[in-house]
Symmetry: C2
Amino acid sequence: MATAPKKRTRIQVENEASIVASALDVFVEFGYSGATVDRIAAAAGMSKANVLYYFGRKEDIYIAVLERTLTEWLDPLQSLDVDGDPQRELANYIRAKLRMSRHASHASRLFANEILRGAPIFKSYLENELRTLVDAKCAVITEWIKQGKLVPIKPVHLLFLIWSSTQHYADFAPQVQALHDGDEGTLYKEAEEFLVTVILRGLQP
Amino acid sequence: MATAPKKRTRIQVENEASIVASALDVFVEFGYSGATVDRIAAAAGMSKANVLYYFGRKEDIYIAVLERTLTEWLDPLQSLDVDGDPQRELANYIRAKLRMSRHASHASRLFANEILRGAPIFKSYLENELRTLVDAKCAVITEWIKQGKLVPIKPVHLLFLIWSSTQHYADFAPQVQALHDGDEGTLYKEAEEFLVTVILRGLQP
DNA sequence: GTCTATACAATGATAGAC
DNA sequence: GTCTATCATTGTATAGAC
């Protein structure tokens, strides 16, 4: 029998949630090492000592932030359906990823930071859960190619292309802004039309 | 008359070069805040105090690393030629960027880190030199579109697509490795064929 | 000119008082 | 459950040895 979960008081639940929410902003803005416990505490409106009462180490806060953000991220890749029309399925996936870049840019940047660091915490997730999901969806794409609905390519590179091109607008936002005139709405509208057009045309047999 | 450059001794030149070279590795591995002067000094085989004799502050080391790496980076975008064949010019650019991802991955990751931080040091470069170069090359792509050689798109998004998709292999290497079987040579050979094929087909009118 | 020794404020972390 | 020492480490400044 598994260990019963520790009972947590209402204050515990609230304070831990507040710390994790504030820590996301701080980790994204300053990076892992630049995010001090003091800054996280200030953002959460608590004392540094009190934060360290709830999470023994800074790394534990970081792990909690990664886990919470990952469950919120929920890659729309999961819904890629082998029975759907490839062009339509992929267009929907690109649009969903672009929406996440825009509205969950903190999550995107947090993951980018973690992977740039060498993915010390994320590594096992990449090699297990994500790997399983990616293998399954690559099989879907391979099936579409067999049916002659897509040009023959190695599926995993298509996923890399969609991930990188959509997340670029979140992760490299300062560069994108320096090189693009117009507001955020226009930028993402243009990006959506461009990426859907070019990638789908490029895959058409 | 401009100020004459300070005369620098042989030891100065050697030690500064050694510090900057070692610091690149440390900044890439640990990020800006995680890179301690002690670690940089150890990597350069010097004492922390001695490193701080040559560079007064950690930020000055970082700026020197960024500047040196930027001159080594020399974006091959510069050679995009309006009189050349668009398909051939763009294919060459994609291949050149992929080669840099592979062989100058430290530079790629250093810039990615800097932009993720909000580009505090790089901002003026992005808004001036890079902006000028990008505007000029967007004009080239616009001209190709006018000549009916490319499908009509907003040029800057094409640059974002090429940058993000090629640099992904350097910046997200741990993720790429977790999801790809096969050695580095195979990976980059596949990526080159995939990206050139899909992007050029997607742009064909 | 080159390098070391030392000091100081800020940080992550621990132990323990209340 | 909250907060106060306390400690080793970090970035940084300065004095001075050679």
